[in-house]
């Protein structure tokens, strides 16, 4: 039945129409890639801090909703956890937003300050190599992957210049650099010691933490320790919440996905791309079938079954899906690179997402095909004599 690839030959015949169809499908593909890509980038950037903290189990206040809205809990809960078997060490972690003044143009902007004990770091060496500077009073480390509105701190520092600026009304010195990356919640990051942190946030009560980081002894059963911590801390005191690392990441992700409009907006954007693509492919296929109606009727008169003609339409839909997807994929990869360079967001073309968009593209074209084939039924062989 397929010695003559009628579907392909018919598509090829109308070159302009084919190009329009491919442009339309490519547009829909790009729209879906952009929406899904931004959504994933948002989630990935929102949790990059969580992922990079060296810890197995995390304590947060039950009232905390996200990194940008943390409530404090009593520090003694963290030290109590040391009494639970399997726990090796703990690190207190302070988080807060302070106002950073750009040292070159004097403009201010909110920046995330991460405070912890220099003797008890929560990042490994690859992210922060030297913690010695923050032992000095009012000295911070600056995230060189922060947005550029904070000033060319990285360049200045590399030129051996002393960078001093104002942070929430205190004069601070940049003592070093590290690299973590901006997120939707925080445009930039600073690291400093717990003592410097409390100097900055003078209104905070001593003994109140934002996050407690717990590391386990080698070979300890994580699930068991988690259960014991839940029983001894969470159940009895109710003023702390115990999370595994995945739970901590999920806590942040679910905030962005469900408690903000962002997840909805991006899904809606992708859905619009899907609908636009469906309409375009339907228009193209419908016109194509209408143009060939007399030919299809002839084929029916010759003894071709409806099934053959339906398969021709679906083959056309499938060919369009593949031919529209490939340029869309290439173009989107370029757009991702552009976005990554412009916004410091971690946006990459992943296999999973490219497969998902491919499946959506095929479904989109098949749906259009399913609507367009109804026209084939109109081809009446008795009309052509």
């Amino acid at each position: 039945m397929f010695a003559i690839p009628l579907a392909w030959l018919q598509l090829k015949r109308e070159k302009v129409r084919l190009l329009v169809a491919l442009a339309g499908i490519g547009f829909a593909v790009i729209l879906m890639f952009i929406q899904f890509g931004f959504q994933d980038a948002l989630f990935d950037s929102a949790v990059s801090l969580h992922r990079n903290i060296e810890g197995d189990i995390f304590l947060i206040s039950p009232q905390s909703t996200a990194l940008i809205a943390m409530e404090q809990f009593p520090q003694r809960r963290l030290y109590q956890s040391l009494g639970v078997s399997g726990v090796e060490s703990v690190s207190p972690l302070y988080l807060g937003f302070a106002t950073w003044r750009n040292p070159t143009n004097r403009k201010t902007r909110q920046i995330l300050v991460i405070g912890f004990e220099p003797d008890n770091p929560i990042f490994n060496q690859t992210i922060v190599s030297n913690l010695a500077p923050i032992r000095l009073p009012d000295t911070v480390l600056f995230d060189r992957a922060s947005r550029e509105e904070f000033g060319p701190i990285g360049e200045l520092f590399d030129q051996q210049k002393v960078v001093t600026t104002e942070l929430s009304g205190r004069r601070v010195t940049v003592g070093g650099l590290f690299k973590l990356g901006a997120s939707f919640g925080a445009d930039g990051n600073l690291i400093t010691s717990d003592i410097n942190f409390l100097r900055l946030f003078g209104q905070r009560k001593i003994g109140q933490l934002d996050v407690g980081v717990i590391r386990l002894q080698p070979g300890a059963d994580r699930e068991q320790v988690l259960k014991r911590l839940e029983a001894t801390l969470q159940e009895s005191t109710k003023d702390v919440r115990v999370l595994s690392k995945e739970g901590f990441v999920e806590f942040e992700r679910s905030y962005w996905a469900s408690s903000t409009a962002i997840g909805f907006i991006f899904t809606l954007g992708a859905a619009i791309g899907f609908v636009v693509g469906t309409v375009i492919v339907y228009q193209i296929l419908y016109t194509d079938v209408s143009d060939h109606l007399a030919e299809y009727a002839t084929l029916k008169a010759m003894g071709y079954r409806n099934l053959y003609l339906l398969s021709v339409v679906f083959q056309e839909a499938f060919i369009l899906a593949i031919m529209g997807y490939i340029p869309g994929l290439l173009f989107s990869t370029g757009l991702y690179n552009l976005t990554r360079n412009a916004t410091s967001l971690p946006i990459y073309m992943t296999t999973q997402r490219s497969l998902m968009v491919f499946c959506l593209t095929v479904i989109m074209c098949m749906m259009s095909g399913a609507i367009a084939v109804r026209r084939v039924q109109d081809a009446d062989p008795a009309d052509i004599f």
């Binding site: 060939h292 003894g303 004599f385």
Partner: protein, 232 residues
């Protein structure tokens, strides 16, 4: 030796429309066509010639009377039986109705694709042979829009006859052609049909081609009004 006729029509009536608008198109049609016979059907426009052709070709369902084509009763026949029957009938239309996206050779091959016993290579060879038989060997790779009207109609004949149908139904195949092309087309049809033993039922207004017929029948106002033997 008397053979079974390839087409046997017995008291067929046909109506269009329904209710008060119901109009009878064919009245009490009775006719037979023998294997290999070339029959021309003449008659004024609107007399029901084309309707009869679509009934024979299993493109419309027969409403009243008996219509036997290739031994198959079409009245009350299941739709599933009609489609395979169409594969044994060659159609030549007034407009050529070729597939514009396919070359001449591919157009001919489309009628062979339906016969699964023919391999692809064989189908290709047969298509080329058919085009040679209608004098278009050098035009096999051309698309319909690159061919003249007469050439297109010859491709249509090659397509209709490629699968050795027992019956060829032609509806005014020469209407859109000039005198010489029309003559060529009809002669090719006649020659190939005789070689292959196909019966031809040809509807025409064209007096110039009546001599190819074994028999001429007249249709007027939905009735087959006269039968006569063609001058040989």
């Amino acid at each position: 030796m008397s053979q079974e006729p390839v087409i046997a029509i017995d008291r067929v009536n046909h109506y269009f429309g329904s209710g008060r608008l119901r109009k009878q198109i064919l009245f009490d049609i009775t006719a037979e066509i023998q294997p290999g016979e070339i029959v021309i059907m003449m008659g004024p426009s609107g007399s029901g010639k084309t309707t009869l052709l679509t009934l024979i070709g299993a493109l419309r369902s027969t409403q009243e009377g008996s219509m036997r084509v290739l031994g198959q009763e079409l009245n009350h026949a299941d739709h599933g039986l009609l489609v395979p029957l169409r594969r044994n009938i060659g159609y030549i239309f007034q407009a050529h109705n070729l597939l514009n996206s396919l070359t001449a050779r591919q157009n001919v091959q489309m009628s062979l694709e339906l016969h699964s016993e023919v391999s692809e290579r064989e189908a290709r060879r047969l298509s080329e042979e058919m085009l040679e038989a209608v004098g278009l060997r050098d035009w096999a790779g051309y698309y319909p829009h690159e061919l003249s009207g007469g050439q297109k109609q010859r491709v249509a004949i090659a397509r209709a006859l490629a699968s050795h149908p027992k019956i060829v139904l032609a509806d005014e195949p020469t209407a859109a052609l000039d005198k010489q092309s029309g003559r060529d087309v009809v002669e090719i049809m006649q020659r190939l049909a005789k070689q292959r033993g196909s019966a031809i039922l040809l509807v025409t207004h064209d007096n110039r081609i009546l001599d190819v017929a074994d028999r001429i029948i007249y249709m007027e106002d939905g009735r087959l009004s006269a039968l006569e033997t063609a001058p040989i």
